[in-house]
């Protein structure tokens, strides 16, 4: 299976040792982005993976590409253009103190590129799976064009498509997200996250109404069934997070697959690095679907993949299949 994903790669700058942005004397550098995280995660699991983005033609861009290559992600299609790489500052929280993110991603090479000049059929040709996310469309009108063209070309070429809704209220309103993403759904095979979606029954009633952030199985199943009926998804999955503190969360996941809804184990765990947890869920899910795991194993693997990510510095899940599977079985002692 050859996998490709498209999105913006950001430089992440975070103070070391839980220092605060307002007092720090240095920043640790990582590179990440919703889609590139999925790329890096899958490449570490052994999948043949390619990432398409636009980066400036300078040493900042080069350092970002080095980080992808080190992780075995193919970077051949990356376009070098424009003036800057988007970045964000992450102040990592601990205990009762929340993490804070300050974005500085406007006017980036990726957001400003004119994608009408890209031949997406050529770009996507030869791949089996395309992954996109809801982070991209609100970045700029150009980026909206990018997602539409990519989805349509993928369908044309017969790729499996996955889409992670990834709603961010700082980028657009709920209503904007709902309307735009709902328009993409006919081209999507695997849907990840459902928060901003527009799902009405015949009477115009929102079917997600009354679905709590941390739903019971029955409510979740009802919504998944309705969505699957309307858009004919191959799979729908989401994870549910319980935030006990900045340093301790719990996660579980739900998967709709082949007419049924499955619920994972609930994992409670300590957090070393919170960012990229959702992307590790997505990559675990995609991996398990590619490998034709059984449904319950798919959702357990996806959640364990996300849980594992929280114990690793950076946005990405630098680990392997065996470690995730050990975690599914909750075995923690020293390996020697």
């Amino acid at each position: 299976m050859k996998f490709i994903t498209i999105g913006e790669l950001l430089m992440r700058l975070s103070p070391p040792n839980y220092d605060k942005i307002r007092t720090t004397g240095s920043y640790v550098v990582n590179f990440g982005g919703a889609e590139s995280n999925v790329a890096v995660n899958l490449a570490n699991l052994g999948v043949d993976t390619t990432f398409f983005t636009v980066l400036p033609h300078n040493d900042i861009g080069r350092s970002a590409i080095r980080s992808l290559k080190a992780n075995d992600v193919h970077t051949t299609p990356i376009i070098k253009a424009g003036e800057r790489m988007g970045l964000y500052y992450l102040e990592e929280g601990i205990g009762v103190r929340s993490s804070k993110v300050i974005y500085d991603r406007k006017n980036s090479s990726f957001a400003e590129y004119d994608y009408s000049t890209v031949d997406f059929e050529q770009l996507l040709s030869g791949y089996d799976w395309l992954h996109l996310s809801g982070i991209t469309p609100p970045l700029s009108p150009n980026c909206g064009v990018l997602i539409e063209k990519a989805l349509k070309a993928a369908k044309q070429l017969g790729l499996t498509t996955s889409f992670d809704c990834n709603f961010r209220s700082m980028l657009w309103t709920f209503e904007e997200a709902r309307d735009v993403i709902t328009g993409y759904l006919p081209y999507v095979d695997v849907l990840i996250g459902i928060e901003p979606l527009h799902l009405q029954d015949e009477n115009g009633k929102d079917l997600k109404d009354g679905l709590s952030m941390q739903p019971e199985y029955e409510d979740q199943d009802r919504v998944f069934q309705a969505m699957a009926e309307r858009w004919n998804f191959k799979a729908i999955a989401r994870h549910v997070r319980y935030t006990h503190s900045s340093s301790e969360n719990s996660l579980k996941g739900f998967l709709y697959f082949d007419g049924e809804t499955y619920e994972s184990k609930l994992f409670r765990f300590q957090i070393l690095d919170r960012v990229g947890g959702g992307d590790a869920f997505a990559s675990g899910l995609i991996y398990a679907l590619m490998e034709n795991y059984k449904p319950r194993e798919i959702i357990n693997f996806a959640v364990a993949s996300s849980v594992m990510k929280h114990s690793i510095h950076g946005d990405t899940n630098i680990t392997d299949v065996e470690s995730i599977r050990r975690l599914m079985n909750q075995s923690y002692d020293v390996q020697r």
Copy 2:
């Protein structure tokens, strides 16, 4: 409101990464002291704040002043004299291992200065609030003079005065502390902490007798009422700590205000840096009193301020009002 506080500023040297003093190859520098911590905390909350102390006229003194200025504390009245800045070594504990403090503060510029030459009425003129603590009097006879002159001048000028008992058994005995501090109480409006105080009923029985370190509401109320009756405090407050381990504590607080005793929520939390927790309680209390919060909000804000401090490196609470208020409502997820 213009706030001023007086005390010794110490250099704190702590091994990084939970290393031990006997093996460390480097020390992280912070500056702190019971009163300067309150100054830095209040300045970070937006209060117009001044700190008075004595520091040596060398680069160590300069580095200390830089740390105050960076935090927006006015340092104009600071006297540069004497030969050394007091310091302490802090070995930060973790889990079952306790933190350890080694003091090296004798013969400091602050302790040896002759305060009889200072005109306290001039120094305090123009301020609304003076804060002092029980750390200062045992440092030297000169320091005892300092506290007495400061309290009397403040009363003369009509400032609100707060006093944090802050009993330290390494500096003086319980009996010395009790006798000296009890003598200050007529000049105090807001009393913080009550451990070493001398409070007898008509039969000479100590009214605090039988008050446990972690008292029930009723016992606490009884003691507060008696104290308020005798010294006519505007407010009395204290926090109560439960030490589950070096890395996990719980805190709650009690406030006597306007004839009634209020008890805060109980917070259980992870510790990044234990030092300055009491000072952050004092600064939260003073802020909330200055802002005329309602009594229950005052004590909850004071405790939340202290809890937040435990998640921040250094002696001080480099945070803002909004973050403390979010913590009062126990909201911990990433802010983005």
Copy 3:
């Protein structure tokens, strides 16, 4: 003397230990900018100094302000607005390897602010000296407005004005710089650097023609005399750099003052941090002029100030008058 300067403050991110941008895992943070460097340098020399700029209202802006305050620079007039702080990446060269700078300063809060709404007469009122530089006008049309309004208001109010030409070919062409800056000269008392200036004799011949980058005294004198005649400067000064390697340079300076040209000693020195060398020349010059040093001492102090800066990390000259004066006398042994 009360000093004020106006300009953009940038965050500087540089890899530690002479690492390269493309491989670094962290960045050291400093804050600097041509004008703020002059502010910080003068404040460290004991001058009452204020800096005016525009910074975003977030923790990045706060960290920048902390760095100014720690250095005793007054930040009261700073406007908090806009979305981002400009930044630049500095790869520090060593030996045969050059330093490299990548700018990411477009669309900054400072560049995008509408200065037509600022009352410069009010802003500058009460100050004795205004310093500006040629970095600002090319940043945006708004910034051009800012410089013009500031210069005219300063003249109106009777401030001494200094202007450091600071030509940067990445921001504008030589011709643009020449035309714009030449327009400012009637409002300038102290001119620093002369590279891009437009100076013709009656036949339209550029008087700077034939002036080498490292001129002889006589050529330099001829040009200074002509410039002083035309614009009536109180002083003209420039420094001349000989780049033996990235780690070793020489500097000397020329000063026109009261009808005569003075040449400083030549200093050859090792480099710890190259950035801000020109700004330290400017601040040394301004300080010596304020203190009414004799002309030869003025230019020696200015060059020694610049030389000293090269031995200090960051953009600024965190030192004191005594240390610069010792350097003027080339005394290097341990001070104990």
Copy 4:
């Protein structure tokens, strides 16, 4: 009491800050080994302690010896020979992520030395206690010779001998371990750990059969009694670990002494550094036996010693008796 122990000293290389081996840019160095850890721990408790090993005659060997000397371990008998020091890479786990160890200890100076040339009676003469462990015999045939000769010489000279079974499946099989170690037992006074031992009743039934990893008191007592009957041990002790996560474990211990089995308190604790926990149990046990603590105190001290180790970086228990005794009483607040 003069204590001596013999074994291999390894260099441990671990990525800082919970980084992963595959991405780390640096390694923190520590020196450790089952027996040298016991030596360092006992020397820190004040026991007169000597360590015998073989190290290469280069700066790596010198750095190892420095670490022993700093801890007051006598290194006089150490032989400098051979070509390399064994090493291992430790990736420290956190939360749900397990620690990982990669050994690179083959062909070490210690493993390849020809111990038939060593006069063990001379080496051990003058000591009161010899400690060995089950790590050594599988390292090489030479090392098997070493253990046998050392045990026999110790018995000859009348030393107390302790042996920590320390079974490692990467070094040999369970059956090999069982057979070899069982052969040593006639020479052992204090047995620590029992996992690989061979203990049959008259019918050839393994008496440890049915003993769970975390046994009940009765089962443990039955096995201890049978072992003591057969080999006449002065004491048998083991600790039992409950792995809640990589960052949180519980420990308790069992001691057979003078015909009775004692069970310690159960400690639940946070982990800073997991390695050397078993060795700290052994050293706590040996210390308490040397000091003639009462049986229940012996096992509580041994477990508290191990628990304390988990809060200290490195393989060894750099602490003192007082701190371990405070921990036995679970007192955690700041010591000042």
Copy 5:
């Protein structure tokens, strides 16, 4: 042009900040080896580059491969086998203090692999240039087989071959090196370094006799001419080093090409990292030959490439063609 090279990749561990091995508390990790350095250098210059080696199938091997991939070196043919990666400790000298190297490379995966099972014609097929060095043959008899088979297969397939003599007295004697390498010369097109070679005239007199380590042009030319006559090299090159101190060296180079000998400029330069200087000479030479530079430019580029390397941490020349060309012209000021 497609380039391939074969050799051992070592992990380098060096104390930070010029610390000494015997006192360091941590090691900085780099990966390097004579041939892999050439690979990484050429890939950074934009050449399509592949590296063949054998590495253990564990996280240490993975981290080494990550470093190659990050530098755009193709790692497809690398074999994962054996038990350990060779390593060396580097104590970086400064000023009067020499650098020291301690090797621990015996029994490595690379040295112990049985290369008789490798089909070198298949391995080398499709490449244009093969580079080998004199480091490999003395590592083990297997490695001798490897070099012979590779050279013969390369000739068979028509690749250009370069060979860097790279004599190391710790690995073999001068006489062994001379005899073995002389046997390779018929298969070599480009010879780099000539120290251990065997070159006699008709009377059995060594033609290199009397050639000083830092020869005059005429002596060098005489030797090159005789060697070219005998083995018909396309090019012969060597660099000559003058060690003023551990922190300052000079380099120049000689090139024999097309019947003539060329001498480069002499560069005197400061050293940040001495290791890999010779490999950067080799890679600069190969690049310039591939690009058909003129002979004098070839040798100047090769020497400048080596000089540049000394200003970059690690074994490799992470730079680009433009930077080396700027250095050839000795331009050092900040690039902005």
Copy 6:
């Protein structure tokens, strides 16, 4: 030969990476003192070495003792008493910027101890050589007693005594130093440094008058001869320093031995760490005298020992005889 020395051990705190004290966020810890440096240096050269001092009985004292033990210095006679360890802050200069030292050593355990209670004959019994320095007497009257008693006991017991004048103007005046140290000279065999000494001819004329800081051979010889005549020294030695900058110095030495004066080579060298250069001269001298080197070798070894020290972090010369001898021959290339 068994060597003992007596003096104060200080904790040195220096900002990393040439940071300044007023801005540093951390300090690197080293332990040093004129006499303990000599002890550590000699122990590293293989001499049996003991150090006597007084240190507080806390973890700071323990960390100091650990550093001595790691260097193989015997610490048995050290007294644990008093309240604090003296310390000093070192700001390391670079290039044109001077190093700065801030002392905080008053009221230390060493300075306040009552040495009248120490039996120096017992303390020194069994040793062959006692080394003292002029740092100690001005520390306190107690310390004056210490030096006198030690010198007299050493003479009584027949030890060789060396005394390093080590004049520090911050501790006492030139006249005080001269008078006190001159009183010690009858008990001194080997005199190191001569700056503050009192040497008059029959007319009361100071024989050192006219001796420049960097004397010619003839002037030096004249003074040495006169001193030797008067006090009958076994040897007199001094080193002469030329300070080109904070990063580059030159050193040479003079030795009077057996009636003749010898002058060493002149070494010019780069500086990594300036502190302890004089102590390394003393230790090199003592070592060479103990080993009965020839006079010219003695003074060359002493100077090379000092030169080497400048390339090593910390106060002490962590090196070996072979490295110093290589440096005497100015061989700098990588050792591998």
